[in-house]
Amino acid sequence: MEEQTRIASDSKTSRRDFLDLLLGATILGWLASIAYPVIRYLKPLPQSGTTGPTRLTREETAKLEQNKFVIVPVSGQRVIVLQSQDQKLLAFSAKCTHEGCTVSYLPGQSIIWCPCHDGRYDLNGRVLSGPPPQPLPEYAVQRQPDGGIVISEGRA
């Protein structure tokens, strides 16, 4: 009789211990499942400061040096960054206002050219000839002291 009670109480204790263990483990697991995203969230990104102005990567800068222009994405929009003959940096939306083709820069003639229907813009973004109905929106572009080039929305 006494034996039985002891066994019963023993099994009860062990069940309680097991439950506590289970409870502790799940609480820990749950906390971990919350902590993991938060820790990942808080760890700074390698190229932090991507908010605001877009900075040209090294390849893009090299391309700009070589071709006198480069097309870069700026918050989802394509932007043409070009270097005029007097070494001035300019940036415009690269989307032709006619049919939306991507424009390019013809350094020899100092014009921005859309190959689709031969639309031509001057270096203020204004339409020189061809079907485009509107000028190209301008972006602000700046060369920073360390040589980096940043582009941001809105006129310079």
Binding site: L23, S33, P37, H98, P115, C116, D118, P131, P133
Partner: protein, 513 residues
């Protein structure tokens, strides 16, 4: 006490100013009587609207109105009402009030119905229809000071002046229209004269016209069915080409040309150089074409109208060898690629028009990638079987073009749909969309580079396009993986919460026991 004289003085000055104001803006008794005149039923003849317009006129115009009433050029309230109903802006009203031709010819008492200018909406110029006053005052010549007398002669300030200018043929004007071009050219071919009005306006229209089929028909064959200046530009109520209501505004050009060219009766008897009759289906074809739809339906003013390819006054646009070369004005890349291709020689040897041979002329349909296939019924295949005897090199190239472009096009559509779905799921699709624009660009370029008809040239843009497909594919896979990762993470965390709920529930039961 000293203030009283000051107040009286101020009042006097105010009264004087008020009186002066009254007299300067005043209306003469005759004019006032006319404004207040009532018809048989006692209703005012000058409507409230006209009255309001009159009240808004400046002093100068009111004075001019006083004068024309005093000079008995305007004698009846109905006539005055007609002028006020024009609702003209001040400068135009001034021009009208100084123009005795208009004042007299708009008075139904003094003019027979065929010489009368009215407000009617019928703008056709020839009698017995009335000339439309509203059209006249919108005329670009009228606005710049060239009014009736400028063409017809006479003295507009005199009460009656019908001394026509010597170039104006008093009879036979309708039968023989050759005089019109010379008449307009009196001014329009004179650079020094035209420079005063619009320095940017060219003065070579007559010279060009003489070289055009229209000019040749009119001036050399003396066929007055051929159009001259006023056929396209209108006569009274000529507007600049940039005015959307002008007959030569880009969107209205097809209709203007079609007035003759789409009319089988008018065009009867006219032939092409080879003697075949001129067709009259161009307008209908143009309307269905990619250009016609762009211009007329989408309102893309950059899209070509008739004159873009056929020239305005000359036979073809400036700097273009012939109408078949006018495509290069906009499609320059395609044209220069074609010029460097083998097809150039082949087409020339057959004496085919270059672009038109494959794309048509007036009914240019939107190009379709299936044109490139070598299958029967497709452009490349059919033409090559007929003329190039199935050159074993050409057919695989055509198939290569077709397959590559179809693949890119299909990828573009597919990725576009995927990108939208992924965006709705909250994933970052910016890199995908960047690659997709790259793909779209290269697809467009590939379609252009087909015109080199060379595998190597085509690959300059097709290979980057294929790479863009690869890159997009990788990014899409990554995005899908990310989404799966999120779902797995969610499942794991929900499972953990579930366990926790279960554990707490068991604990609670145990505690409450």
């Amino acid at each position: 006490m000293r203030t009283i004289p000051i107040i009286v003085g101020i009042l006097l000055i105010l009264a004087a100013t008020f009186a002066a104001e009254q007299s300067s803006a005043g209306t003469s008794p005759e004019l006032a009587a006319m404004l207040d005149a009532k018809d048989k039923d006692g209703k005012p003849i000058i409507t409230q609207e006209q009255r309001t317009y009159f009240n808004g006129l400046n002093d100068n115009l009111k004075e001019l109105l006083n004068q024309v009433v005093q000079k008995k050029v305007v004698t009846r309230p109905e006539h005055l009402g007609l002028l006020l109903a024009l609702q003209l802006r001040p400068q135009k009203m001034e021009l009208v009030l100084q123009n005795n031709c208009i004042l007299c010819h708009s008075d139904s008492e003094t003019q027979s119905s065929e010489d009368l200018f009215t407000l009617g909406s019928d703008s056709h110029h020839s009698p017995p229809s009335h000339m439309n006053l509203k059209e006249i005052v919108e005329d670009t010549h009228f606005r710049r000071g060239l009014s009736c007398a400028g063409c017809h002669g006479g003295d507009p300030t005199a009460a009656f002046g019908h001394a026509f200018v010597k170039e104006w043929p008093e009879s036979g004007r309708q039968a023989n229209r050759e005089w019109i071009v010379q008449f307009c050219a009196r001014c329009h071919s004179d650079p020094t004269f035209m420079h005063q009005f619009n320095p940017a306006l060219p003065t070579d229209q007559l010279a060009k016209f003489k070289s055009s089929p229209h000019g040749l028909t009119l001036l050399e064959k003396h066929d007055s069915r051929a159009p001259q200046c006023i056929s396209c530009h209108g006569v009274h109520g000529i507007r600049p080409a940039k005015d959307p209501q002008s007959k030569v505004y880009a969107q209205r050009v097809p209709e203007t040309c079609g007035a003759c060219h789409a009319n089988a009766t008018t065009m009867a008897g006219f032939t092409r150089a080879d003697g075949s009759p001129l067709p009259t289906t161009q307008l209908a074809e143009y309307r269905t074409s990619v250009h016609g739809r762009a211009l007329l339906e989408r309102g893309d003013l950059g899209a070509p109208a008739c004159n873009t390819c056929h020239g305005n006054h000359a036979a073809s646009p400036p700097g273009v060898a012939g109408v078949s070369r006018s495509c290069s004005l906009c499609h320059s890349a395609n044209a220069s690629l074609f010029d460097g291709s083998k097809h150039k020689q082949a087409f020339d040897s057959h004496n085919w028009p270059e672009c038109g041979k494959c794309h048509g002329d007036h009914a240019i349909a939107k190009t379709h990638d299936s044109m490139l296939s070598s299958a029967p019924g497709a452009l490349c295949g059919d033409c090559h079987r007929q003329y190039a005897k199935d050159d074993p090199k050409c057919i695989p190239t055509a198939d290569y073009f077709h397959q590559t472009i179809t693949r890119m096009d299909e990828a573009q559509t597919r990725f576009g749909a995927i990108s939208e779905k992924l965006a709705a799921k909250g994933l970052d699709v910016e890199p995908i969309n960047n690659q997709l624009t790259d793909l779209t660009d290269n697809l467009k370029k590939s379609r252009t580079y087909v015109h080199s008809f060379s595998r190597d040239t085509f690959q300059q843009v097709a290979l980057p396009g294929e790479e863009a497909i690869q890159r997009t594919d990788t990014l899409v896979d990554k995005a899908h993986e990310e989404y799966k990762y999120r779902q797995v993470g969610l499942a794991a965390s929900i499972a953990l919460i579930g366990f926790l709920i279960l554990a707490i529930y068991l604990k609670l039961r145990q505690l409450e026991k």
